[in-house]
Amino acid sequence: MVNVQNVTFSYNRRTELLSNLSLKLEAGRIHGLLGKNGEGKSTLLKLISGLDFPKAGSIDTLGFNPIKRNPAMLQEIFFLPEELPQLTLSIENYEKVYAPFYPKFNSEQFNGYLKEFDIDNKKSMLNKLSHGQKKKVFVAFGLATNTKLLLMDEPTNGLDIPSKGQFRRMVASAIDENRCLIISTHQVHDLDSLIDSITVMEKHEIVFNQPIEEITKKLFFRVADRNDKDETVIYSEDTLRGLYQVCENKTGEESKLDIELLFNAILTEKNKIVKLF
């Protein structure tokens, strides 16, 4: 679905934002793109959608070269940016104007998602809504476009606590084997139990890209006693509730993935973790 090969990108000549980056993303999955600020997560999403052009390397998005911005590709992509555009349109008119550009747009679905987000009045003007409300409208619209590729940059920023749960439910129900969702985020807790593949960027490179089932097969997550000494421990965090540990899974026992712990473990013990995969 998305194939990024040896891509290099920079906004100016001095500093490279992405360096020789390669990544393959499959359909039917929700990919979590994690990384610290300024690592190039949003830029990668822009490159995939054709908003920015790579300086070197190649990108294949849905079988198209994204820099051509072919309408056949664009009608199968929906990009939810972190900062939303200022449009002086009502929700109703937004649907009237933009829905015809997406052949698989489903108006009933859109209304259903809006209802789930408690947005009843489609006559509300988008520029008069709060950031969170506006985000809900765009999330609902994006899911209702039924595009093959959905790109979301920090989708839960600005959403209140109940809306984050609604967002998870909606996304989980909207993704099927033909669709691919890439979520770039810092709010890993918001996406716990939603993401089924994790990609970590560090120092402008992809350092980790694995599906959840592979991660839980190779790694074991646990809360251990401070006196407990185990050779399989790769990374641990001391908290009030004990030691949160990432261990090598030697027994094949299943454990619940802690994305934040895994992310910190990758940043601290990158070599040890990468070696296991």
Binding site: G50, L51, L74, E83, V97
Partner: protein, 245 residues
Amino acid sequence: MNTTLDINRLGLLLKRYFIENKQRELTFWGITTVVFTLMHLAGPQEKSISVEMFLYISGFIFAARTFKIFNYTPGGMHYLLIPATHFEKLTTAVLLSTFYYFAMILITYTIGTTLGTTIGNFFFESNNPIVFTLFYSHADIYSNSHSLLNKFIFFAEIQSVFILGSIYFKGNVIGKTWLTMTALGIIIAIIQISLMKILWGDMHFAETFNYQTGHLLGSNIKVLVYLLIPFFWVVSYFRLKEKQV
């Protein structure tokens, strides 16, 4: 799927413009009609120049706003991701800022002139005829004909420059486009003078630049001016194609 020009998508882009700008359009053309009405209250004096100035000045302000959306990154991202080709997006911009704008000026001018003259006749108890001077052809001091078609071509020329300016520059498009045009004009003038010096030597220009050569140069420049319109559109197209946000 047609990947160059699809009439359906072009229609959707035009519909998008009118729905998004409905309020602004209604207000602006309402005010324009009132301005033309007021201008014609006192009778059918020569108003063509004022109307032409209004057309050109308001026109380039409108054209300079064509790709204003790129001044704000989320807006630019949203625009570039609309599933339509760059050609369709540019065609929409040209249709709106050149053909639609000119047509709307003619319509509001016709309404304004009719209303202004009729109201003027009623209140001032006069009997002035309704005269649409903008539609008439007149000659300037160099005997160049100023027909409605010529006025449109000159208008299209200005609009094409400012469409390019609006996609090329970020912020203060009008100022930057004027400055660039002035700089280019000076460079072209220097090249022209240098060429004339090479061709005719160091003789004084008054002796060499007579009526015939002036007329010959004038005709060639006119052709060049006509060719510049599609040239600026093509440059705008490539600029839009390579636009990154």
